[in-house]
């Protein structure tokens, strides 16, 4: 008896992100770091050549990582592996799909390849995660086929204030939509610059139709728990772990605080003796051209 299988459906792409909920996704640049992340209880790793803090420090054009590095990391861990493509660079995305990464992050952390269009993500079987700073941006990415949203924050800073701003903005815009009457949603869709059916869906359900993680500036267990208490489905930690004094310990502590985000005693205990946190940069000190969150639209 043969039963038909439907691959790459919306539901299975969004479904993988559902499986990551409550977890921490960590940026790693080597197979060894990937193993440290896996041991600490990371739910997935993001394979990169440079963490955002180094991209920021070294400047230049940031591109997709070397396939050898990505393959090496895929081979070294049993958890899902994500990798970044430049905004609009659909061939980098094709390469990553050919490498069979589990998720592609179309990311503002890399230098954009297209300042007008994002990747048409419906053309791929592999699911995409995309950054957003507000609800309209999140809905435009979902319209293009994103199966998971990551609020952007400001990557590579260790300053949680932008992550805070973006999740609060998205939450309050969703709440505002939910309180509107049906005939007000047409104008709301125009203002959000997002398709009406999707806007209506969010207004009715009171949430995004995909999982939303928070990223950009999370450096401590308390930062991670803060984002979870604000309603994040999980967190990305980029430079915060491997730019700190004791990555293995800090990684495990952030994972624990993400699971027990509502228990201050556990967060207190897990915050003890972690050594040096990443030094970080205050977002306010960054000149506008160096703000990554403003890439993408």
């Amino acid at each position: 008896m043969s039963q038909e299988k439907f691959e790459g459906t919306d539901l299975v792409k969004r479904g993988l992100a559902e499986m990551l909920k409550g977890g921490v996704i960590m940026d790693v640049v080597t197979a060894d770091q990937a193993k440290i992340a896996e041991d600490a209880g990371a739910v997935a790793v993001m394979a990169l050549e440079r963490v955002p803090a180094d991209i920021r420090a070294q400047g230049g054009v940031a591109r997709m990582s070397d396939p050898d590095l990505i393959q090496d990391i895929i081979d070294s861990v049993s958890i899902p592996v994500m990798a970044k493509a430049r905004i609009g660079h659909f061939v980098e995305a094709q390469v990553l799909e050919a490498l069979e990464v589990d998720y592609i992050d179309e990311s503002e952390v890399l230098s954009p390849a297209d300042y007008v269009n994002h990747i048409d993500k419906w053309k791929f079987n592999v699911p995409f995660v995309c950054g957003a700073t507000n609800l309209g941006e999140a809905l435009r990415r979902i319209t293009e086929g994103a199966a998971m949203i990551r609020s952007k924050g400001e990557a590579g800073t260790g300053d949680v204030s932008e992550a805070m701003k973006h999740i609060r903005t998205i939450n309050s815009e969703i709440a505002a939509l939910s309180s509107k009457s049906e005939d007000e949603l047409y104008v709301a869709a125009k203002e959000l610059q997002a398709p009406y059916p999707l806007v209506k869906e969010v207004a009715q359900s009171g949430k995004l139709p995909v999982v939303m993680f928070v990223a950009g500036g999370i450096a401590t267990p308390a930062d991670a728990a803060l984002m979870m208490q604000l309603g994040a489905d999980g967190v990305f930690v980029g430079s915060g772990i491997f730019k700190s004094g004791d990555p293995a310990k800090r990684a495990a502590a952030i994972v624990r605080a993400t699971t027990y985000y509502n228990d201050p005693k556990v967060i207190a205990e897990t915050s003890r003796g972690l050594g040096e946190a990443m030094v970080g940069i205050n977002v306010g000190d960054l000149p506008a051209p160096h703000r990554l969150a403003e890439r993408g639209w």
Binding site: M1, K5, G15, G23, S78, E97, E100, T259
Partner: protein
């Protein structure tokens, strides 16, 4: 009260599915939570991660004890964790046991090969999702609960049940109904 192990994974979907069937369900994160549960669901998630967290957070012995004595249902990652052996898992992977089966992780392929399909229960077929799904490669003494293309995709050993797929993602109710009947 039905507990859903809430270390990581699609806990919310299981809780809403159980509640839609009239059960009381809550997330289990501590030893006290586990004590309060009369049955336990191990949700979909990352099996490697859930296993590490169960060890790191000091819950693994209590979970194994629960599995040995009370009704438990596992989906996807949950099936892997309830198996007696998992091919393709880390060599030091800690399992909960309970099902006399061996599984192979990601046996249907990586995420690009994840799919939806109709699976056959004794009572009829239902559409479910297979996401980086494990396959039962040795069924041991377990009985078959559901099949896909003639192969077992849901199995049972006594009061412990496991499935390769996610009924909670498509809202398929048969497996959870069978589980609730066993409590």
């Amino acid at each position: 009260m039905i507990g859903v192990l809430a270390l990581q994974g699609d806990v919310r979907e299981h809780i809403s599915l159980l509640e839609s069937l009239g059960a009381n369900a809550f997330g289990v994160k501590t030893l006290e939570d586990l004590e309060a549960a009369s049955g336990l669901v191990i949700p979909g998630g990352e099996s490697t991660t859930i296993s590490k967290l169960a060890v790191n957070f000091g819950l693994i012995d209590a979970i194994r004890n629960f599995v040995a004595t009370k009704p438990v249902l596992g989906t996807c990652a949950g099936l892997i964790l309830l198996s007696k052996g998992a091919i393709g898992a880390l060599s030091d992977q800690q399992l909960f046991g309970g099902l006399d089966v061996t599984v192979e992780r990601n046996a249907y392929g990586g995420q690009t090969h994840s799919f939806e399909a109709e699976v056959e229960f004794a009572t009829g077929s239902e559409r479910v999702a297979f996401i980086r799904a494990p396959k039962v490669v040795d069924i041991g003494s377990a009985e078959v609960v559901a099949t896909l293309e003639g192969e077992p995709v849901a199995v049972r050993s006594g009061r412990v049940m496991g499935a390769s797929f996610h009924p909670e993602i498509t809202g398929a109710t048969t497996l959870h109904k069978l589980f609730l009947e066993s409590i």
